[in-house]
């Protein structure tokens, strides 16, 4: 396998956890949560700081996810208890997190060259030659764990209630559940996943950077939308697997357009934004054509 291809697949897997987090808020809760831009970096910042401070990488990863959940909880509280519109609540969290991330890292960039990471741990375990060789196995393992957990969780009583709340909060309130509590939980879960993704991506990249979350939500949306092409009206587990596939396809597209110099690396964010805008537009057009009404 060429290195371009394997790096696209590895990145697709590691970033797919971000995409799954975006899916939880964007599709299940019906909210565009911009906290992700900050919580992705937060995951990286917490991981880099902890690893450099000597915390075992696996614990650093879990700590990152926990901090992401906290960030999501803050957005959830801003939205439900302080009645700030969800989009603005996300922007406030994202902006605040920029300073938090700088505080955590103490500087704008922390390299992870001379330290053990979860990749080097896994490389030793699997007797591989290079750290990066462990990226695909790590991605598969992490994705399998995340999907397994989510499929279990969203089939519990609490999980059903979250799905119902995102679809229609009148219904869940009429059935005696606080919609605020469910929304906060949804924000927390989504941002825990996004921070987890940030943690893994920074270890793959070999550094954490305070700017690395910029555009994260659009990358996640691109993966979700590409994935949904394969997942029309399918079961939850299939939808999640499709998002992972969408994330890998997105990375392959990026690798293709950069390697063939169709798009310069500097224009990548613009390219992705246009891609997402067009994809959402086409989805809407095809739904109108099909006369489908979504309640």
């Amino acid at each position: 396998m060429s290195s371009v291809l394997s790096s696209a697949i590895a990145q697709g897997l590691l970033w797919s956890i971000l995409a799954i987090g975006i899916y939880v808020t964007y599709r299940l809760l019906n909210i565009s949560d911009l906290t992700s831009e900050g919580s992705f970096t937060l995951g990286a910042a917490v991981t880099a700081f902890s690893i450099v401070a000597g915390v075992p990488p696996i614990l650093a990863v879990l700590l990152a996810a926990l901090c992401g959940a906290l960030a999501g909880t803050v957005t959830g509280l801003l939205h439900t208890k302080m009645h700030i519109p969800s989009l603005l609540a996300g922007i406030l969290s994202m902006t605040g997190l920029y300073s938090v991330n700088l505080r955590v890292m103490g500087k704008a960039n922390i390299p992870l060259n001379q330290v053990d990471t979860i990749l080097s741990n896994l490389k030793d375990l699997l007797h591989l030659a290079r750290d990066r060789g462990a990226a695909i196995p790590l991605g598969i393992l992490a994705v399998a764990l995340v999907i397994g957990l989510l499929v279990w969780f969203f089939n519990t009583e609490f999980g059903y209630a979250i799905v119902a709340c995102g679809n229609n909060d009148h219904m869940i309130i009429a059935n005696g559940v606080s919609s605020d509590k469910l929304k906060i939980a949804g924000f927390a879960i989504a941002n825990a996943l996004i921070a987890l993704s940030g943690s893994l991506v920074c270890q793959y990249n070999g550094y954490a950077d305070v700017q690395m979350g910029i555009g994260a939500i659009v990358v996640g949306l691109a993966s979700v939308i590409i994935g949904e092409v394969f997942a029309k009206d399918k079961s939850f587990v299939f939808v999640l697997l499709s998002i992972v596939l969408g994330s890998v396809i997105y990375r392959l597209i990026v690798a293709f357009v950069i390697n063939t110099s169709i798009v310069s690396a500097n224009d990548m964010k613009l390219f992705t934004a246009v891609l997402v805008a067009l994809a959402i537009w086409f989805t809407d057009l095809s739904q109108r054509k099909g006369g489908k009404k979504h309640a």
Binding site: Y160, A164, N168, H170, M171, N175
Partner: protein
Amino acid sequence: MLEIKGLCKTFNPGTINEKKVFEDLSLTLNSGDFVTVIGGNGAGKSTLLNMIAGTYPFDKGQLLLDGKDITKLKEYERAAFMGHVFQDPLLGTCSNLSIAENLSIARRKGKRRTLRRGITEAEREEYRALLAPLGLGLEERLTEKVGLLSGGQRQALTLLMATLVRPQLLLLDEHTAALDPKTAQIVLDLTNELVQRDQLTTLMITHNMRDALKTGNRLIMMSEGKIILDINGEAKKQATVSDLLALFEQNNASLDDKMLLG
């Protein structure tokens, strides 16, 4: 038994849009009462129902349900012992979940949502038996998403869900108004059946005078936030649509077309 005592509510107080909806409204529903509520637009029917449900707070007054003061409870807390069916058939059910999953959410009303499995095999059997008598074929479609059902089917399902755990009070907010006449009749028949089976204390708002007269044991007419007619038993049985219309005229109540057609 539901007791509403001295209810006051003003929307937008202190502005040019200020609207006094209720000034000292009191009403008692006896246990097992099935009350139909009619009145023109702006009479305060829906506002009253929403205040009982807890959707809006009120300025003054007290709500007692079976002797318990529920004035300070939030909407979701009150929902633990109330059933609420909305006018819009899309609001009472979740379109992304299956029929069985929707019912399982209603089955756990008033209970904490835990990390136990959302639905058990035994429940599926129970729901199949519950849906079969409706004659809508829903018992064969337990795993289908509710988004695929028609408005009437969804409203029938909402009714089942609202009464799955026996509510101390059932609130029906023009729940047949958005349906075609035939489906509306099916849903109304189901309503009667469920209310009678469980002897539910029920408050039903309707635009349809004929439905209001032939349904339930008590009828209330509202105008400008006041109860202008409250009849039950024989008096209600004797009343006709033209009696109600005459009373409307007397009170200069605003009539809307739908009601005249009803």
